[in-house]
């Protein structure tokens, strides 16, 4: 089971790293982002040490979308409902794909419909995805 986490890395990258570890420990593979450290910030678009140095920023961003394409789910890490500019753009692009998007909290800055079922903290999401996975295996 593959997942991509999006959200404001500039504000919450440390928290996101903890979520990555939780997911990985519970059998959920996180395709993006990688556990790393922030080395640059282009007005909210964050470059990580693990990003390929030879890549231009737009190629790094394309890599995120490539990983989303390979993911079964997307998880939006948005404490307090906050999504930044990059995340708002990413949600817009992902919405069209029909991929299921889970949110940590209800989004404050975007008037989009989010079902109550799609709002889950990491523990709840792990339980939900693992039980769903077991059901599918049965």
């Amino acid at each position: 089971m593959n997942i991509t986490i999006i959200g404001s890395f500039r504000k919450y990258y440390d928290d996101i790293c903890s979520v990555i570890q939780m997911f990985e420990e519970n059998g959920i593979r996180v395709l993006s982002p990688k556990l790393s450290v922030i080395v640059d910030d282009l007005d909210g678009f964050v470059i990580l040490k693990s990003d390929n140095r030879s890549y231009k920023p737009y190629e790094i961003q394309q890599k995120v979308f490539d990983n989303i394409d390979k993911s079964d789910y997307v998880y939006v890490w948005n404490p307090g409902g906050y999504v930044g500019l990059t995340t708002a753009y990413e949600i817009g692009r992902v919405t069209e794909k029909g991929l299921r998007i889970f949110y940590k909290e209800r989004v404050k800055d975007l008037p989009i419909f989010i079902s109550e079922d799609n709002i889950k903290n990491p523990d709840e999401l792990i339980d939900y995805l693992n039980s769903r996975h077991l059901l599918m295996m049965a």
Binding site: F45, Y58, Q62, Y89
Partner: protein
């Protein structure tokens, strides 16, 4: 309302890259043409993946034109690519758009079917009272547009025949050929055209019209070879003063053009800006295809035209638009844009300010707005205030529009570095 008064368009075709300028109230002005190498052109025509070499060549040409003396500002420029680019894999196409945007600041827009139709519909506003064909013969395709009064349009695309493909199938046509051989070639091309149309489940109705406007430098070509042309008696337009019967076109082509070998033609036009490069190469193939096609369609009268599809942009740059932007910060400009569009017969699919509150977007509004984005031909980002500020809601719309492969035009260049990563056109040109 901040709009740009001119737009310089770099048009990337399969064989040539042209630079033209539109200025409010003036006809399209041609600036320069670059002919791609055979190898590069072949790559776009025959492969479904473009190499770094091709993309680098393209970027170098664009950059050279950006550096030209008297160059245009970024918001006055954009790149349009021909429909052939639509056959590239979506992922590569987006990578190309992102890379060109990152390196040049210019938006690489692949002409969508909707806008292609719009520009064809608007090409000849003086000639819309009867059924007519508008024909374009390209390097590897033929486009047959059937227009009815009221401008309903049906298009037949033939993807297996074009000037370049014919040269490969019939290499003998590069030499001079006789009347008898001409008839054989024409019959062969007619069979190919009919087969291609049947294979694509499309149909020709021979009774649809007997008049065709033949696009693509045809007046210049016919004048260069001193064809006898009659006065256009079908409609009045200063750029379309001639007509020629299809039988005369065929007869004169046999006696004039087909007597030249390709080598003769290339020598003749080596210093001719209009006909050098790819033009001379494709002349005979193009004319043979035209004769065969007019015969297939039952066309009796040809209106030669120096226009290309881009001329239609002069009258209208878009037809169904959605406007996104902070309703709170830009309400006045959005209102002004909507009024302008309504006056100029451009549909604003969203926002509908008669129903929506001016200062707030809710879930129902956003749902309606997203559906409208799916249906529009252009998303216009109204960010005139606050140094081009674009907020989360609008960025969501941009992401959604990119995922739906829509053209996006922002009124102002956003200052945030993030926008170097989002390929959008900067500078709103409204057309005439």
């Amino acid at each position: 309302m901040e709009t740009v008064k001119l737009k310089c368009i770099i048009y990337v075709g399969t064989k040539t890259i042209r630079r033209v300028v539109f200025r409010e109230g003036k006809s399209m002005e041609k600036l320069n043409t670059y002919t791609l190498s055979e190898e590069d052109a072949d790559e776009l025509i025959n492969k479904n993946y473009l190499s770094d070499k091709y993309i680098n060549a393209l970027i170098n040409i664009i950059k050279a034109w950006q550096r030209d003396p008297g160059h245009f500002k970024t918001e006055e420029m954009c790149i349009y690519a021909c429909s052939k680019f639509r056959t590239l894999p979506q992922k590569q196409l987006f990578e190309i758009k992102s890379r060109i945007y990152y390196e040049t600041g210019l938006y690489f827009f692949v002409l969508s079917e909707a806008l292609e139709k719009l520009y064809i519909q608007n090409l000849l506003p003086e000639f819309n009272d009867r059924n007519r064909y508008i024909i374009s013969i390209n390097t590897c395709t033929i486009d047959i547009h059937q227009l009815s009064p009221g401008n309903d349009i049906q298009t037949i695309h033939i993807n297996s025949i074009g000037t370049s493909t014919l040269m490969k199938k019939l290499p003998k046509i590069q030499y001079e050929f006789s009347r008898k051989e001409t008839i054989e070639y024409i019959n062969y091309i007619k069979e190919e055209i009919i087969r291609a149309i049947e294979c694509s489940n499309q149909k020709i109705d021979k009774s649809f019209s007997d008049v065709a406007v033949y696009l693509g430098g045809e007046i210049s070509f016919l004048n260069e070879f001193r064809y006898d042309l009659a006065k256009n008696r079908i409609f009045r337009d200063k750029d379309h003063i001639y007509q020629i019967s299809s039988s005369s076109f065929k007869y004169q082509s046999i006696n004039r053009l087909f007597r030249f070998s390709l080598e003769d033609l290339e020598k003749r036009f080596v210093n001719n800006r209009m006909f050098s490069g790819g033009w001379a190469y494709g002349m005979k193939a193009c004319t043979l295809i035209a004769i065969a096609l007019f015969d297939c369609l039952g066309v009796k009268t040809i209106i030669p035209s120096d226009y290309s599809i881009l001329n239609g942009l002069f009258y209208k740059n878009f037809s169904n638009v959605v406007i996104s932007g902070s309703l709170r910060r830009n309400a006045g400009v959005i209102q002004e844009l909507i009024s302008f569009f309504r006056k100029n017969d451009i549909n604003v699919l969203s926002p509908n300010l008669d129903d929506a509150p001016m200062n707030k977007r809710d879930i129902m509004y956003e749902y309606y707005h997203m559906n409208a984005i799916k249906m529009c031909d252009t998303l216009i980002i109204c960010n005139e205030n606050d140094d081009g500020y674009i907020g989360e809601e609008t960025l969501f719309d941009i992401g959604y529009a990119i995922a739906n492969d829509k053209r996006i035009i922002a009124m102002k260049k956003p200052k945030n570095e993030l926008f170097k990563l989002l390929p959008i056109e900067i500078g709103l040109y409204l057309g005439r």
